[in-house]
Symmetry: C2
Subunit: 212 residues, 2 copies
């Protein structure tokens, strides 16, 4: 076990963040206390407060780390797929897989109560994941305005997120990875078919058209 | 405050369930303990175990009560809307509204760890809500097989659910009721456009078609 003062402040910060990630990944957020974390890295609780303002600050940084990991996987998937429709389906698949593999860390990203004013570096982490989705949507429907693309990306990804949430809490008859992936694909394909068709100005029967 | 033995077993059951609903609605699930509930209705903790097997049994019955309430509101909305597309949009709107108004009770329905073997009356409560969605989808795309309709209903509603989850945890820039309703509508309309178009055998460019 490491001893006090063996590390620089920056090293201590990184060490603590990694250890926090391991604790949450294995046991969920309820296991993460300052005392437990300090013990895990062989430092005092006081030392943690040299590098994190409080537990909320630490969790926000942990969530940023999870988002970076998700972004890395998403970008890798996206780079392999020049076709924007296939790319969006692959991104949804990567999201479902990530949620299943990093269950506790993924839950923490959206369940943790965030401070009223987020530091600027946090929304940037979210934005660069959405940039991948928005990029593909723009390629699919180039006539759409940026605000429409932005809104569509959020609506679609909330949907994919919902599939993951219900899968995680065992609310489907079949919560196997295959079944959940199929559910996410079904949602994404139908959404994209609709999004592209209405972008092209495809006609819907008048009675339906009025609803929009 | 009621005194012991003033009620029949059935009355005690209903009294406790209603009180449990009030406690959760106001303070969330963490406030619901047997002791607290017993005190709220003026009975001993032991009396509760005459009418509920345990706290999990009580929560399952409470969730069934919430689903009944949701079903009642959904059916009312559905009955007013003969057009199936408008009906699905209205049902999504009702779901978003219900989640916002009964935040804690709604969360409990999908967050509570369910027993491995659910009593038959529970999935029936879920099924009759889905029946409203499946009915409208069948009217919209009568050529689809029942299994496809069933799957589409689940994919679409997981999506609407995801919009609610992210709205509740404040993950949208704008979490106002109007903005969240717009997000849900966008998801539902695009999905339905796609679902109806592909049901009609509408052509997609070959490169895209292969993905399905």
């Amino acid at each position: 076990m490491a001893r006090r003062s063996e590390h620089t402040r920056e090293q201590l910060h990184d060490l603590a963040l990694k250890a926090a990630g391991r604790i949450v990944a294995r046991e969920g957020i309820s296991a993460l206390t300052a005392r437990r974390l300090a013990a895990a890295i062989g430092y005092t609780v006081g030392s943690l407060y040299l590098v994190f303002r409080n537990l909320d600050d630490l969790i926000l940084q942990l969530n940023a780390q999870t988002l970076d990991e998700l972004h890395g996987q998403a970008r890798e998937v996206a780079e392999k797929q020049p076709d924007p429709r296939k790319r969006l389906l692959a991104l949804a698949g990567a999201y479902v897989r990530f949620a299943g593999e990093h269950r506790h860390l993924w839950r923490l990203v959206y369940e943790h109560r965030q401070p009223a004013r987020l530091p600027a570096w946090y929304p940037e982490r979210v934005a660069r994941i959405f940039a991948l989705i928005e990029g593909a949507l723009t390629e699919l429907a180039p006539a759409r305005r940026p605000a429409e693309i932005r809104q569509a990306a959020r609506a679609l990804w909330s949907g994919v997120h919902g599939v993951c949430v219900l899968a995680m809490t065992g609310r489907f008859d079949d919560s196997s990875e295959t079944a959940v992936q199929a559910m996410a694909s079904l949602l994404v394909s139908n959404f994209l078919d609709g999004f592209v068709a209405t972008a092209r100005g495809a006609r819907r029967p008048a009675a339906r058209r009025r609803v929009k």
